[in-house]
Symmetry: C2
Subunit: 385 residues, 2 copies
C-alpha cells in the first residue's frame, strides 16, 4: 500500500451559477486543480455527485466530464453517497493511488442544484433518507434534522439559541472567503430572529442549496515532490456507515458512523482529537455540527453546543471549525461539499487560506456526512513541510 | 498490489419482480454470495446501480443495502457508470482488495426497473447519453442505437437479418438458464417478423428491461483457499471511456473504449483473443454485439455479424458468447448486468453452468458497456484449478 498525497486543488465559487452547466462547473474546478498540480494527464477520475440524474437528466458523469476536460479515454466513474458523495470520490481516488494501479488521480465533486423546480429538489434531497420507512410518511430532509434537534434540546436541556455560535462562526469565516456563497457576518440577533424552517431549525441553522465544483489531484507521496513543494499527505482515511433510518438507530442523538470513521482515521494517523489543529465538519444544520463534535471526541456527549458558546470553535479557539465558512456560509452543493472541505483543509495546511488562515496549522481533519448520518467519511491531512 | 480472486457468487432470477423491492433483491443476491463464499462479515460493499434515484426515489444505496443485509457499519458506497455500473462496482471492489486496504469485499449490482411509468424509465435510460447534445433533440436510447445500426448496415453492406444469429444464440442459451428472463428459443422467422422498435432495431434485437441483482465476493488470492476450493482469479481488469455523444467520436462504428479496455486487460493477463474460451459481451442491442466482437479483436472491422452467421458464437463455436442468455435473453437490469456477466463467467469457470456449460472453460472474458460506448469495462477471469 502506497502513501498518498494531494498535489493540486481547484474550486469554483459556490453560488447560483445560472450561466454555467454541470460540465462547465466541473471543468473549471478540474482544470484549476490540474494547473495547480502542474499535470496535463491523469490515470483516473472519480466524480462525486448526488443529483445529476434527478435534476439535470444526466447520469454517466465520469466519461462526460473526463471528455469535456480534455481527458477522453481515461478511467472515469461516478461515486454516490448522498451528501457525502465528494468525500466518497476522494476516498476511491485515495484507494486507487494506494493500490498502485493508478498514479495520478483526480477526485472531483460537483452539484448543480439551482436548475430545477423546488419540489423536485426537495424530493431529490429526501432520497438520501429511507424512501420506504421515512420519506413515505412525507418527511423532508430538513424536517428529519428538525426532529433530531428537537430531541437533542429535550434530552440535553439546551435552547435553540445555544446553537447560534455555529452559524455566527461560519458566517464570520465565510465573510473572509472569496469563494463562499454568503460573505456577510451575522449577529446573534439575526440568528434568533431568523425565519423558522422546520421547528426548531431556523433559516440560519440551515446550509443553503447551491451550485459548485471542487477538485483535488492525488499521487503517491514518493512522486509528489516532482510536482510541487507543498504536497499535503493523506494521513488518515476512513468510511463508516449506519442505518439510513434515524428511528432504527440505537441512539438517534449519536452519530455512530462519525465516531467509527473518526476513530479509524485517528488510528491510521496515530493521532487523537487533541492533535488536530482545525476540523472541517459537516454543518448542514447546526445540530449536525454539535453531534459531530461529540462523536469525534472534541466534546462530551450532550455538550457540543458548549464549544459554540465558549468560542472554542472560532479561528482563535481550541478547535477551529468551518474555517472558510463551512456548509452554512460557504454553501452546500451536496455532491461537491466533501471536496470543498478537502480543498479548504489543503489551503490551511499550505498556509494559503488568506484571511481565514489558522496559525500553525499542521494537521487538519475533514468529515463529510451523507443523509442524517448513514455515511460518514473522515480524512486527516498533514502538511509535509 | 495484491492478486485478487472471486470466492462467492449470488444472483436473483431476472424478471419482473413485483413482489420484491430494491433492498430485497439486493439482499437475496448478496446473501447468496456470502453463503457461497462461506463468510459472515465483509470489509466493504460496492453497489452498482443506475436508476434508483429516478425510479425508486432512493439514493444512498451503500449503507441502505449493507444495513439491510446485516452488515451495518461497514464501508459501503454506490458506483454509477450508466449500464456499466455493476462492472464499475466490481472494478472498485477489485482495487480495494488489490490495495491491501480491504480484505473481504462484496460487489453488488442491482436494478429495479419495473416500478415506474414508461416515460420515466425512458428518460432515465436516456440519461446515459449526453443530455445537452443528444437527448435534448428528443432521441431515446434505442433510437440512438438504431442510428448506429443503420450506419453499420449502410457502411458494411449487411442486412438486418445478418444480426439474427446474435438473438437466436442468446435465446437458445437463455432457454437453458433457470435465472434467465426469457427461457424460450426463437427462430430466424421470429427474428425477421419481430415488431420494429426503432428502424432497423426490432424487438428481437433489443434486450428487455428487468429487475434483478447479482453479487460476488472478492478477496486476496492468497486467502482464497481458506474459503473455497474453486476460487476464480481476476487476471485482467480495465476501464476505458469515450465521449458520451456518438456524433463526437472519430468513428461512430468503432467502440474505441472497448478496444482500449480489452487491450489493457489482455496485456495485464498476458493473453490475446485466441486464448479466451468464452466472452460475456454486452448485447443490449445486436449491433452492440457486432461492434464489441470487432473492437476486442474477435472479428475484423465490419465483419462482426459474420461470426453470428457462421455459428462461431454458439456454445460449440470458436468464441461462445452470451453463454447464459446474455442481455438479450437473461435480461438487462441495467445497473446489475455487469455482475450477472461476472457471476455467469464464474459459473462457467467453476464448471457450474449446467446445460450451458462450455467444455474446458479455463479463461473467460466479460465486457460491460455504459451508454452507447462511453464507459467500457473488461475483465478476464481464470480458473485456478
Amino acid at each position: 500500500m502506497r502513501d498518498v498525497s494531494i498535489i493540486g486543488i481547484g474550486q469554483t465559487p459556490v453560488g447560483e451559477h445560472w450561466d454555467r452547466s454541470l460540465r462547465h462547473l466541473s471543468y473549471n474546478a478540474l482544470k484549476a486543480a490540474m494547473i495547480d498540480a502542474n499535470i496535463e494527464r491523469a490515470d483516473a477520475l472519480y466524480v462525486g455527485n448526488m443529483l445529476s440524474g434527478e435534476i439535470s437528466g444526466q447520469a454517466h458523469l465520469g466519461p462526460l466530464i473526463a471528455d469535456f476536460a480534455g481527458l477522453r479515454g481515461i478511467e472515469a466513474v461516478k461515486v454516490e453517497a448522498a451528501c457525502a458523495s465528494a468525500a466518497a470520490a476522494f476516498r476511491q481516488a485515495y484507494i486507487g493511488v494506494a493500490s498502485g494501479l493508478q498514479d495520478i488521480v483526480i477526485a472531483l465533486g460537483v452539484e448543480k442544484m439551482t436548475d430545477n423546480v423546488g419540489s423536485q429538489l426537495t424530493a431529490g434531497l429526501a432520497s438520501a433518507a429511507d424512501a420506504d420507512y421515512e420519506v413515505v410518511h412525507g418527511i423532508t430532509f430538513v424536517a428529519l434534522n428538525a426532529l433530531i434537534m428537537q430531541r437533542y434540546i429535550y434530552e440535553y436541556d439546551v435552547t435553540r439559541e445555544d446553537f447560534a455560535g455555529f452559524a455566527i462562526n461560519a458566517h464570520a469565516n465565510g465573510a473572509k472567503n472569496p469563494n463562499a456563497m454568503f460573505q456577510k457576518p451575522i449577529s446573534r440577533t439575526d440568528f434568533v430572529k431568523s425565519h423558522m424552517v422546520a421547528d426548531p431549525i431556523g433559516l440560519l441553522d440551515a446550509s443553503p442549496m447551491a451550485d459548485g465544483a471542487a477538485a483535488v489531484v492525488l499521487c503517491p507521496t514518493d512522486l509528489a515532490r516532482e510536482f510541487t513543494d507543498n504536497a499535503i499527505r493523506v494521513k488518515g482515511s476512513a468510511v463508516a456507515t449506519d442505518s439510513l433510518s434515524v428511528h432504527d438507530r440505537r441512539d438517534p442523538l449519536w452519530l455512530q458512523a462519525s465516531e467509527d470513521s473518526a476513530h479509524k482515521a485517528y488510528r491510521q494517523a496515530k493521532v487523537g482529537p487533541t492533535d488536530i489543529d482545525f476540523f472541517e465538519l459537516h454543518d448542514a444544520f447546526t445540530i449536525m455540527a454539535a453531534l459531530s463534535l461529540e462523536a469525534t471526541g472534541f466534546a462530551e456527549r450532550g455538550k457540543g453546543t458548549w464549544l459554540a458558546r465558549g468560542g472554542e470553535i472560532t479561528p482563535e479557539g481550541k478547535i477551529p471549525i468551518t474555517t472558510r465558512g463551512g456548509l452554512k456560509a460557504r454553501g452546500h452543493p451536496v455532491g461537491a461539499t466533501g471536496l470543498y472541505q478537502i480543498v479548504e483543509a489543503t489551503q490551511q495546511l499550505r498556509g494559503e487560506a488568506g484571511e481565514n488562515q489558522i496559525a500553525d496549522a499542521r494537521l487538519g481533519m475533514t468529515q463529510n456526512i451523507g443523509g442524517s448520518g448513514a455515511t460518514i467519511i473522515t480524512h486527516i491531512l498533514e502538511s509535509l513541510n
